[in-house]
């Protein structure tokens, strides 16, 4: 709260500090709302804001679009580079030069880039969808969500290619998610190991 009375403290004429605000011309001309004495509103409760119920990080839904976009852009970059390389190889073998070669190169880059970007993006959309779904359903956001969402993503992505490939896809998703989870919780593991070696 702004204490406007401090300007008049060295004035010996005013001893009752509570009545001084009304006489300040600069404030009383602004608005009567500013012309009040804070004593009228005694603080009935402590003036703190406690971070109760706050989530410590952003949820999955807020991160989802950025993740999907990043996956798309990275996939596009990888696909573009491989497409350029393949296009160079193919046009060299076919002996195409000049304008024809340029067009073929652009075709290769566009085709590979978009196909890999689409694949990455679709996987990312599936993963984000499952992740958001699970974190809403369970009410928490932890490593188990990551694991289950990645496994489900792998299985859904390969679900039209037969049972065996579906299982392989789920296994790949689970493996990647397990690696990510281990990397994310490496501090916890090192603490556990530390406690195990030195039970002091």
């Amino acid at each position: 709260m702004i204490d406007l009375r401090n300007e008049n403290t060295d004035n010996p004429r005013i001893h009752n500090k509570n009545s001084s605000v009304i006489n300040q011309p600069s404030i009383s001309s602004l608005s009567p709302y500013l012309n009040y004495d804070p004593v009228y509103f005694p603080p009935s409760q402590p003036e703190f804001i406690f971070p109760e119920g706050a989530v410590k990080q952003r949820g999955r839904f807020e991160l989802a679009f950025s993740q999907i976009g990043a996956a798309c852009i990275i996939g596009g970059g990888i696909g573009g580079i491989t497409g350029f390389y393949k296009g160079l190889k193919v046009t060299t073998i076919a002996g195409q030069t000049g304008k024809l070669r340029r067009t073929q190169l652009i075709n290769h880059v566009m085709k590979h880039g978009s196909s890999i970007a689409n694949t990455f993006g679709v996987v990312s959309v599936m993963y984000s969808g499952f992740g958001v779904l699970f974190s809403y359903a369970r009410g928490t956001d932890d490593s188990l969500n990551t694991l289950v969402a990645a496994t489900a993503t792998g299985m859904l992505f390969k679900s039209t290619a037969g049972l065996k490939k579906c299982a392989v896809g789920g296994g790949i998703g689970f493996g990647i998610a397990a690696l990510v989870c281990l990397w994310n919780s490496r501090n916890t593991f090192s603490e556990i190991r530390h406690h195990g070696m030195n039970p002091a």
Binding site: P32, N35, Y40, I68, G69, A117
Partner: protein, 163 residues
Amino acid sequence: MEEYAREPCPWRIVDDCGGAFTMGAVGGSVFQSIKGFRNAPSGINKRFLGSLMAIKDRSPIIAGSFAIWGGMFSTIDCTLVQFRKKEDPWNSIISGAATGGILAARNGLPAMAGSALIGGILLALIEGVGIFITRFSAEQFKPPALMIDDPSQLGAPPEASSS
């Protein structure tokens, strides 16, 4: 303008790209499922299978086109913000036209001009609708007639809590 509800500028490209990809994926799935269902041979199982195949084959492509549109649009928008030092509807309109033009660049000059025109008009419509919605929704937040109370009527301050 809801510029404070979005990411700051370089990261907005990634965010918009992802949002557009998701929009395209969901919308493309719905659209392709209906199309595959209608175009499949008769028999309810074959229809559902055709629907599934259409989703699998076509919706990533639609999603990718949306993502390219969104990413390109956002990139040009951010570039314009950087150069013009302001964010206004003209940025969106210019970047919509430029995006339409660039993405049709391989189809020849007339196609580019047509796409750029369509992109610009589309974005101008969107921005116009946004401005009108803001105008109309601002009406309900108009403050009522100002009523000034004089706190000097409260009387003498309470003595108990005076310091």
